[in-house]
Amino acid sequence: MRLLRSLLATVRGLTRRNTIANEIREEMRFHVDMRSEEYLRSGLAPSEARRAAVRRFGNPMVMQDRGYDVRGGGLMETILRDATFACRMLRKHPAFSAVAVLTLALAIGVSTALFSVIDAALIRPVPYPHPEELVTISVSEPRPTQVSRLAPSMNDIRLWRTSTAVFSHIGMGRVAGFSPLIVETNNASQRLTVGSASEDFLEAYGVSPVIGRGFSTDDTREGQPKAALLGYAFWQKEFGGDPGVLGRQIRIQNEATTIVGVLPVGFYDRTVVWEANQWPAAMVDRRGSGTPVIGRLKPGVTAAQAAKLLTDVTPAGSMLARDPVPVRVELDSLYHDETAEYTSTVQTLSYAVGLIVLIACINVSGLLLARGATRHTELAIRASIGAGRGRLVRQMLTESVILAGAGALLGLVLAWLFLDSLVALIPFSLPANSPAQLNVTVLTLSLGLTMVTAVLFGVVPALKLSRVGRNINTILAAGGRSGSAPLSKRGGQMLIAAEVALALVLLAGSGLVLRSFSKLLAVDLGFTTDDVVTVEVEPVAQNSEVRRQYYAALTEAYRALPEVAAVGMLDQLSLGGGHSYSFPQADTGTRIQGPLRTISPGFFEALGVRAIAGRLPEESDVAAADAAIVDVASNDKFFAGGAVGHTLKMPTMAGKTPRFLRIVGVVPNLRLSGPEYRVQPEAYFLPDWSTETLDQGAFSMVVRLRPGVSFSGERFRKVADGVGPKVVIGKIQSLSDIQGERVSTQRNRTLLLSLLGGFGFLLTLVGIFSVTAYAVTRRTREIGVRVAFGATRTHIIGTILGDAVWPVAIGVLVGLAAAYYGTTVLTKFLFETTARDPVTLAAVASVLGIAAVLAAWLPARRAATLNPVTALRAE
C-alpha cells in the first residue's frame, strides 16, 4: 500500500516536472522574443536580431537546466537519470554486477539475520512494560570470610511494603520451575512447566489476568486451598478458552488446585500454569529460599536510593544459624539479568558479521576501482562536456547505491529463506515470546546498513575516479589506452592487505571455536553412551510406597525384555544436567562437598562402568539403602585413596533419625552433566524410601540394550504404562542424544562461527582474485611487450604474483596482531583453549596465506600464457 502510494507520488512528481519545465521554457522564450523584437526595432535583420538575443540570453538549455535545479523536481530528475544510467552500466558488465551483488547480498543477508536475532533477544524480549523499573532484590550478609547473597524472605517483602515507599509492587516467584510438574486436567496428565508466585509478583511485572483474579496473600498461606492461574495458550488448548474455567479444579503433583484466573497471551508462554507459593509458617522469615524477588520501583526512585532506604529498615540476619550481622540490600536490573546470557554471544556474532560486511565492502570497492579504470574514457568525456567532479561523484555513488540496493534485496530474500535455519544455530534459545522475524525494526536496520555499505565501498572509488577531470586531455589523447595512469597499483594492494587482515581475524575466531569444540568432543565422559536409552517416568500418586513398588516393578519388567542387557535408575535432576548438594559428613571429619546423585543397582552396569575398588551396589543393598559409592575425585580428595569402608552421615531435617551410609565402592569420575563440567568429588547413594522427600522422588530409567538390537520407544512406553499405578511418561531418548544436547550450544556456536569464517574466507579469495585479474588486464600490453622482449613465463608469473604476495604477507602480519588482541572476546566461550592459541593462529595464517597466493596465481598464470601479438593489440 505504502509502496503504491510512493510510486504514485513519483509519477505525479514527474508530470509536475513537465509542467515546470514547460513554464520555464515559455518564460524564457518570451524573454528572448522580447529582446529580439527590441533588436529588430533598433534596425537589425530578423535572423540577426534573434541570434543576438539568444547570445545575450546565454545557452537556453543550460539556463533551463539551472532553472529546474532551483525550482525543484530537477534533483529528482537527475537522480532518476543517474539511476537509469547506472542500471545500464551494471547490465553492460554482468559478471562484475553479479559478483558485486552476490557479495553484498551475502553480507547484508547475514547481517539482517543477525539483526533479527538481536531484535528478538535484546530489543523486544521483555513481555512487560517499563523494564527499567524492574529490579531483582537480594540481601547480602557480609562476613569476614565470605559474603552470602540470599533471596529475601517473605517477611522482608511484607516489611518493605509497609515501611517504605520505594516499590509500587514487589513479590516473590519463579517464571519457570526447575523441573516439570505433573499437571492433571480432565483430559490428560502431563509433565509441564509450572511457574510459582506470591501475591503482587505478577503485578510487579505489570501483568493482570484477562479473566478472574491474581494471587492474594491468603492464597500463599499454608493450609489454604491451592490456587492456580492458567497461561493463555494452555487455557485455549485444554479448556477451549472457556470463561467458565474459573473455580474449576486441576491437580498439580496430585494436589487439588483451584483455577482463579487466566494470564494474558505472550507472558512467558512456555510456562503453562502458575501456582500460588505456599510457605510453611516456619519458612516465612527464612532468607535464602532461592526464589527470586522482583520489585517495580516507583517512578523517579533510583535503584541506589531504594537500596539505601531498604538497607536502613531491614533487620540483621543470620544464615545457617550463625551470629546475626547487619545486612545490605542489593538491587539489580531484571532486564540486565535476563539479557546477560544473550549479550556476550550477540556481541561476538556482531564482530564476526561486522568483519564480513567490511570484507564485502572492500571487495566491491576493489571491483568498482577495477572496472572504473576501464571507464576512464567515458568519465573523461563526461567531464569534458561539463560534468563537474561533484556530478561524477554523484553518478558513481548512485551506481553504488543501486548495487547496494540490489544486494540488499537479494540479501533479504536470502535472510527470509534461511532465517529459521540460521536462528536454529544461534547458540542460545530465544525468549519464547520473541521469535526472530523480519519486522520493521529489522528492515530499517538493514536499510541503514545498506546505505552505510554503499557509502563505504562507493566513496573511495568515486573520489579516485572522479579525478579524471584534472587530466582530461591526456586521457582522451591516449585513446583510452592509458587506464593505469590515475589508478595507483598501491590502491589495489592496500585492499588486498586489508582484506587478508580482516579475514585472518575472522578465521582465527572460527579456528579457535573449532579447536575448542574438538577438545570438548574428545573429553572422556567416563562412561559409554552407545546403546543406552533413558525413560523419564513418574507415578502420579505422590506417595513413597507407590513409587518404591512402581520403580522396582518397572526395573524387573524392563530386565525381562529380550533386547535389554542392564537396567538402573538415576534421579531426574541428574539426568537433566543438574544435581543436588547436601554435604554429607564423613567419619574422617570432612564434609563431602560435591554433587550427590541418587541411583539404583544396575545403574553403573547400564552405563558400562566398573568399580575401581570395592564393589558396585547390589539388589541386596536396596532394603537397608545404606550403601554409597564415591568417585575417584572424592576418594582422592577426602579419603586419601581409601574410601571403601568409611561411613557418611547424611544431613537430615531436624528431629529425624540421622542416616548413615557405608562406602562400598569407588567408580571412575563420570561427567554426567556433560563434558564441559569439570570433574568434581561426587557421591552416589540409593533412595531411602522411608525418609525420601517427595520432590526428589522422580527417577528416570537407564537401560542398556544388547548390541545390535533395534529399539522401540513405543514398546518401552507400553511397558512403563502397564506395570500398575497411573504414571506420566516424559521423554524416551538415547543417552547419546542427551549428551549431544549438552554440547549443542557449543556445537551451534562452532557451526555458526565456522560458517561466518567460511563466508569471509571465500569473499577474501574472490576479492584477491578480482583485484589481481584486473591488474593483469590492465597490464596486458606491458606483458605483451615483456614477452616480445623475451621474458619467460616464470618471470611473468613472478612479476604478477610479486605484486600480490607482499600485500598478502602484510595482511597476514597485521591480521595476526589484530587477532592476538581481538580474539580475547571469545575467551569465555573456549574450552581448554586459550584465545591466543598459537597452533590455531599459525594454522589459520598459513591456510589463508597459501589460499590468498593461489587466488592471485590463477590470473597470473593466465597472463603468462598470453600471446604477445594478441596482447599488444589489446584494447
Binding site: 518564460e27 518570451f30 524573454h31 529582446r35 540570453f57 546565454g58 537556453p60 539556463m63 532553472g67
Partner: protein, 109 residues
C-alpha cells in the same frame, strides 16, 4: 571556476532585483530592462541567469509570481515583492549603505 565569483554576485543581483520590483510587479524581461537601467554590468554577460535568481528568491518567499497578460497581449510570468522580500530589501539596503559609508569614510580619510 566562476563559482566563487558568482556566489559574491548573488547577493548584489538579489538586491538589485528586489530594488527593481520595489515599484510594482514586473515580468522577467522587464526586470532585465530595469536592471539594465540600474546597472550596466551585472547581466551584461548572460541575461538568462536572471531566471535561476528569480526562482531562488521565489523559493525563499521574497517574491511571488503569477501568469498574466502584458500590454501587448502576450502571456508572461509577473513577479511581485512579498512582505519578506520588502524587509529583505530594506535590510540589504541598510547594510549596503553601512558598507559604502564605511568605505567612503576610509577613502576620505
Amino acid at each position: 571556476m566562476t563559482r566563487t565569483n558568482s556566489d559574491q554576485l548573488h547577493g548584489t543581483l538579489d538586491m538589485l532585483v528586489l530594488k527593481a520590483l520595489e515599484a510594482g510587479p514586473l515580468h522577467g524581461y522587464a526586470v532585465a530592462v530595469r536592471l539594465e537601467a540600474l546597472s550596466h554590468d551585472v547581466l551584461s554577460v548572460e541575461e538568462g541567469s536572471l531566471y535561476p535568481a528569480l526562482y531562488r528568491m521565489e523559493r525563499r518567499e521574497w517574491l511571488s509570481s503569477t501568469w498574466s497578460v502584458t500590454d501587448t497581449g502576450r502571456r508572461a510570468r509577473f513577479y511581485r515583492l512579498t512582505r519578506t522580500g520588502r524587509s529583505q530589501l530594506e535590510a540589504e539596503t541598510a547594510s549596503w549603505a553601512r558598507l559604502t559609508g564605511a568605505v567612503a569614510s576610509v577613502l576620505k580619510a
